[in-house]
Amino acid sequence: MAVTDRKITHLGESVGLSDEQLIEMYRLAALTRALDERMWVLNRAGRIPFVISGQGHEGAQVGITWPLEKGHDWIAPFYRSIATCLTFGMSPRDILTAQYATANDPSSGGRQMPGHYGSHEHNLVSVSSPVATQLLHAVGIALAAKIRKTGQVAMTTMGEGSSNQGDVHEGLNFAAIHKLPFVFVVENNGYAISVPSEKQLSVHDVADRAAAYGIPGVVVDGVDVLACYKASKEAVDRARRGDGPTLIEAKVTRLTAHSSDDQQTKYRTEEELAAEKTHDPIPRFREQLQDAGILTDEILSRLTTEILAAVDDATEYAEAQDDPDPSTAMRWVYAQDWPSESPPAWGMGGGHGSGGEGGH
């Protein structure tokens, strides 16, 4: 990057980030959006059966993930966490191989539905479908960090619908009692599939519940990337100092249906959907950086080209990867295979149940 890009503008100075860092944050958010849009195209083209999207969440995810130390700290993410995963080290190829469920998909080797990311290499805990279970895993990771004195911080993220689960209460209580290095992030997009938050929450803000655990609860505009960054930086620093957990609630938008199997016009009005589009973190962040003179036309043009190339590369790469071999389908039930765990009557060959060993 050119020397001139290293200057710290007033905007950067106000949050303690260099212009390079701000541009990288924008790149990650925009890359996530482009990847996400590509998934829908591939879904509609019949290439991948299912998409669950993070559109509208990207800015908050990049801002909130940024203060964590990659390869050291931990995140237990959820199924909309594409930007979280990219910011924490996963690649566009990693994301799209998960969509295609290829043999070399690093999240699960093609075993999980798309959206269930995870990476041992990057300290991203494998996502499951029952919601909010991951909060307890992050709390346990934070407990281990405290006991082992590793200096790590563990974060978990989920939607406001998931935040109603009992595991959230149990985990926040325990994390607060022991002042664990833990950050709880709620990405509140206003909907739990079709049910609006006023039918999910007895309070206006999930953050209000933090008071019950004696921990800070912070509400932040999830469209404002730098506000999200600042809130997270404070929470991560606090956690690392040993002062305990923080609840951050980022008010975000859900710019798509819940998933490719959902039709949100059944429960959301056209007016509401149009209004949502004005609360989009990507153009907001872009304009902010342009106004500050950080994101020049030249840089933006270069980024746009690079992002398209990365998405094309990831698509072509994922398309070309092999499906998992059924002969591997009984591996990793346990760390060691056990002879008494019998294969099915039709054996371990392929061929959709058509024959025993060595099917096609």
Partner: protein, 327 residues
């Protein structure tokens, strides 16, 4: 060789493992100063302190969920569920999370975690302090389920469980804690998971059991011998992964198979054993595979008359042996 009670063997093993490996921690309800409601963790808090012996709130899902996370980040938690009856709030964490973590991440993550829980009836514990819950979990690939019956096995199997890289449910029959004694060597021996033991050789009929029922099966076997019926007893010790070979070898030899378990009969663990024997030793069978198991009521009733009616005991097993032997 010193004789120890079942619970002494368990307590010593936890302490030994914590001394051997500083990544081993204990967490659960009342496990700290009190040392557990059965005193299985007595003395650990004094020796290892707050960091490694953690009194949790009354939150079973958290106990398991946080243990999963701690295991992912380098510890080997031994979680105690105070009574197996109270494990159900943690069912989702065990079944959806602990059991599937390795498979769903394609070996990216494993969960080296031991979950200890006292189970079983005959102690005036009624519906919610007497349950046998093993069948819920033996159904789930990815979990290992261990039910020891002797102090020797408890020690050797608990060592193996703590050192294992997968989640192990370790069910301890609470009636055995102080009533069962046995020789336990001071050496650092282990009993491997997934290996049954023939605890009584015999020729005419095989009784398959585990936990407290393994003792009752031996007693019934001895009495049957006096009546001229030679009974072989197989103590399963690990329910999953199951040692099918030891079962099948025995049944192929005797030709008759009686399966004993304390849990409700319908859909209980013994049903799976029966299915395996039926599928894999059919040609050797000389009588119907038979189950002696708890009645199909929703829990062990409290009144002692009702509890005695519920509980499988040596008399009931002997009756089953006689009928099957005569078939």
């Amino acid at each position: 060789m010193p004789a120890k009670t079942f619970i002494e063997a368990i307590r010593e093993t936890i302490a030994d493992e914590m001394r051997r490996d500083e990544s081993v921690i204990v967490l659960g309800e009342d496990v700290g100063k009190k040392g557990g409601v059965f005193l299985a963790t007595d003395g650990l808090w004094a020796e290892f302190g707050d960091d490694r012996v953690i009194d949790t709130p009354l939150t079973e899902s958290m106990i398991i969920g946080a243990s999963i996370g701690a295991a992912v980040n380098g510890l080997r938690p031994i979680a105690e569920i105070q009574f197996a009856d109270f494990i159900h709030p943690a069912f989702n964490q065990l079944v959806s999370e602990a059991a599937r973590m390795r498979y769903r991440s394609n070996n990216g993550y494993g969960v080296p975690m031991t979950v200890r829980a006292p189970y079983g009836g005959g102690v005036h514990g009624a519906l919610y302090h007497s349950q046998s819950v093993e069948a819920f979990f033996t159904h789930v690939p990815g979990l290992k389920v261990v039910v020891p019956s002797t102090p020797y096995d408890a020690k050797g199997l608990l060592r193996s469980a703590v050192r294992d890289d997968d989640p192990v449910l370790f069910f301890e029959h609470k009636k055995m804690y102080r009533s069962v004694r046995g020789d336990v060597p001071d050496s650092d021996y282990t009993v491997p998971l997934g290996k049954a033991a023939v605890t009584r050789p015999g020729s005419k009929l095989t009784v398959i059991a585990y936990g407290l029922m393994a003792h009752y099966a031996l007693e019934a076997g001895d009495r049957a011998e006096e009546e001229g019926i030679s009974v072989e007893v197989v103590d399963l010790r690990t329910l999953r992964p199951l040692d099918k070979e030891t079962i099948l070898d025995s049944v192929r030899k005797t030709g008759k198979c009686l399966i004993v378990y304390e849990d409700n009969r319908f859909g209980g663990y013994g049903a799976e054993v029966a299915a395996i024997v039926g599928e894999e030793a059919f040609d050797y069978l000389d009588g119907p595979i038979t189950r002696i198991a708890g009645p199909d009521v929703p829990g062990v009733p409290y009144n002692h008359v009702l509890e005695e009616w519920f509980m499988v005991n040596p008399d009931k097993i002997l009756d089953g042996i006689r009928k099957l032997a005569a078939y």
